[in-house]
Amino acid sequence: YGNTLRTYIVQLHPHGVTSSSFPTKFLWHLSFLDQTLSSEEDSSSRLLYSYGSAMDGFAALLTETEIELLRGLPDVVAVRPDQLLQLQ
């Protein structure tokens, strides 16, 4: 499963140490992906959503290996796999 892409919700510290150096949250979130992905990967194709109101963070397509890398970054609060809910 190490290389299988899955959707994860990555929650960041709202006032993370790196956040102030980016003009928008979207760019900040992209930079997180850039740090995680190999250099030839286009991080924008992996970024699904950039959250700023309901949560600080993003949803992205990631492998388990990349998730482990992300978890080690200082501004990452939590990483959760996308969940499928149902109508009731």
Binding site: Q11, L48, S53, A59, A78, L87
Partner: protein
């Protein structure tokens, strides 16, 4: 809906919640669901006020959906598909197109949106059944639709994106008729997203889930969410089975019986069992044509869809169907607009019918359709499927919070589907019937919108308190709300059944500031990082708890768990006067069995509006021995205004050992 607003006492002529709130004018309800069918008459905008200036949302174009599809009623529509799109979903076997736009492909979102805020539509019905003027609970409110659910479900990444946008758009109420199983709050994207929404003053209303009557099945359990269970109406659609022996079995159906000559004809009865094909459940392709052709087929409820069983019977040449409840459904009838003459019978009736069939060589029956009957049955009752407490992750918060109508709700329906929503159903209707806590949720969303319109300054916690403390503990006959054959427990009904006319003027409210939820999470033993995940607040629980010794969340219901030999608990509550100045309230307590309850003070004298006063409750266990088996008891605590009996502020008490 064509009837539930009347059942809840909402009237456009007498002074009640609709008049006091201007029908919810100016309030914006955001509905996270399967989208909307904008051409439905329930979303027409005649008589609607202009779009509020604070609205920041949009009408997102997409497949079969133009920016002009929105109007002054449906002020926003967006869709969120990225989470769904990338999740290697196998190609759908569904023959219905799934619109890549806010347009509703499956009907659910159209139904729930119209229940919350649909405008008046005269002469609405499902094939002539349940006819009346259809109205949402807040017919004057604006609706913004966020499509997050697709044919295979709703991804949390899409849901979170919708909540994220809805906060910025400026909705006042969020209605989420979706969920799953209870989760710890730090793993629950709805809980996390809705905490921020509540911080922004948005009321979040969620379905409790349909996993009842299993204990601790209730989902969406965050204390800042209003969690809604489902109840029945006193409206019936009798479709009685007359067996060949002359005896009758009560059933219900929305099939327009008298319109087909075969509908009420006596037919041979057949119940196909044996083998592994699921013929007793009437799976598609499981019924041998030679056995069922021209006959009335008995199908057990469960596993596949109720209406789908009718299609299976029809495909196999069957002429009619009796849908037989199994033990888990008991006597609950969730009716459908079947594709052939059909009726649904309760479990006890199913046993009688099958006994007749087993003891008769040529069993026969006919269905006698009785139209729509209102007011003759006890209601509300708890829907069997409605999820139950106790709360799996927080014994101090009673869930569900309240019940609202969720069985046989007739509301708006799209034109791409028949009333059963099955692709084989070529009929087209503007309204259809659905059941679920999904249907209960938007009733409360609409009621929250009414309260928001009447009291724009109230917090989401105040609105929720108003709904909970004014809820009815008894049914429309003044008798206990029933759950099957027994009076319902608080774990089924929470604070009771919604009463919008009382909720709009509750007298007192239990308000909660977002910071208090954080302290509450500390009392539960959540770690700093878990609390940060949920609330985005960096807190030291030891400091918080030091500064708030003996803290109790100011929740409108009371739930106590005696664990680890603890025999006594002291909890505090704080009431705020939103009624009249110079109001005096006295307390009445009905203690749970095996428990002594002391309240101090026993009288609260409010001199001003918005004045807050606190009281303490000591809950003392009188049980001598503790067994390993978990046991429960329940009671209630009510503050009654000495001069205004309308203001009764009731909190259920649940105790667990």
């Amino acid at each position: 809906t064509t009837y539930s607003y009347k059942f809840l006492g909402l009237s456009s002529t007498t002074d009640g919640a609709w008049i006091k709130s201007g029908f919810g004018r100016g309030t914006i309800i955001g509905v996270l669901d399967t989208g909307v069918w904008p051409e439905s008459p329930s979303f027409a905008d005649q008589g609607m006020p202009p779009v509020p200036k604070r609205w920041r949302g949009m009408c997102q174009e997409g497949q079969n959906f133009k920016a002009t599809s929105c109007n002054r009623k449906l002020i926003g529509a967006r869709f969120f598909i990225k989470g769904h799109h990338v999740s290697s979903v196998p190609p759908s076997e569904n023959m219905v197109d799934e619109y890549i736009s806010p347009r509703d492909s499956s009907g659910h979102g159209t139904h729930t949106s119209s229940t919350a805020g649909g405008v008046s539509v005269p002469m609405a019905s499902v094939l002539g059944n349940g006819a009346g003027v259809a109205r949402g609970m807040a017919p004057g409110a604006h609706i913004a639709v966020y499509k997050v659910c697709w044919f295979n479900g709703c991804y949390s990444s899409d849901i979170l994106a919708a909540i994220d946008v809805a906060i910025v758009d400026g909705v006042d109420v969020l209605s989420l008729s979706l969920g799953g199983f209870p989760l710890p709050l730090y793993d629950d994207s709805i809980a996390i997203g809705s905490f921020r929404a509540v911080e922004h003053g948005i009321s979040v209303i969620c379905a409790a889930g349909n996993n009842g009557p299993i204990q601790s099945s209730v989902a969406n359990i965050a204390p800042w969410i209003a969690t809604i269970g489902a109840s029945t109406l006193d409206r019936k659609f009798p479709a009685i089975v007359r067996m060949g022996n002359g005896e009758y079995v009560y059933g219900e159906s929305l099939f327009p019986g008298k319109s087909l000559p075969i509908a009420e004809k006596e037919l041979e009865l057949v119940y196909v069992t044996g083998g592994n094909s699921g013929s007793e459940f009437c799976f598609r392709g499981s019924l041998p044509k030679e056995k069922v052709k021209g006959k009335m087929v008995v199908c057990d409820r469960g596993v596949n869809g109720r209406a789908e069983k009718g299609v299976a019977v029809k495909e196999a040449g069957g002429a009619a169907m009796i849908l037989a409840n199994t033990e888990i459904n008991l006597e609950e009838d969730s009716v459908d607009a079947h594709v052939l003459p059909a009726t649904e019978i309760g479990y006890a009736e199913a046993v009688r019918l099958k006994t007749y069939m087993d003891t008769t060589s040529h069993p026969r029956a006919r269905i006698v359709f009785g139209g729509t009957v209102i007011g003759t049955s006890r209601a509300p009752e708890v829907a069997q499927f409605s999820a139950r407490g106790p709360n799996l992750y927080d014994s101090t918060i009673l869930k569900p919070d309240v019940l609202a109508p969720g069985v046989n709700i007739i509301a708006a329906w799209p034109q791409n589907l028949g009333p059963t929503s099955l692709p084989e159903d070529t009929r087209r209707v503007n309204f259809t019937v659905m059941s679920g806590t999904s249907m209960a949720c938007p009733h409360v969303s609409g009621i929250a919108a009414l309260i928001h319109s009447a009291h724009p300054g109230w917090t989401p916690a105040a609105i929720k308190s108003a709904i909970m403390t004014s809820a009815d503990a008894s049914d429309h006959r003044g008798k206990p709300i029933m759950d099957g054959s027994k009076p319902a427990a608080v774990f089924a009904i929470g604070a009771g059944h919604v009463n919008p006319n009382r909720a709009i003027d509750p007298g007192l409210i239990y308000d909660i500031k977002p910071d208090e939820y954080v302290i509450h999470l500390c009392t539960l033993g959540y770690t700093r990082s878990e609390i940060f995940t949920i609330t985005h607040r960096n807190v030291s629980c030891s400091e918080k708890l030091k500064m708030n010794r003996g803290f109790s969340l100011n929740y409108p219901s009371i739930s106590v768990a005696f664990k680890h030999g603890v025999k006594s608990k002291m909890i505090t509550r704080r009431l705020t006067n939103v009624g009249n100045p110079n109001s005096v309230y006295s307390v009445q307590v009905k203690p749970p069995e095996g428990v002594k309850v002391r309240v101090k003070p026993r009288r609260l004298i409010f001199k001003h509006i918005n004045q807050s006063l606190s009281y303490r409750i000591w809950v003392i266990s009188r049980k001598k021995t503790q067994t390993k088996k978990i046991s429960y008891a329940e009671g209630q605590l009510t503050w009654t205004n000495a001069h205004n009996s309308f203001h009764r502020v009731r909190s259920p008490i649940s105790v667990t050992w």
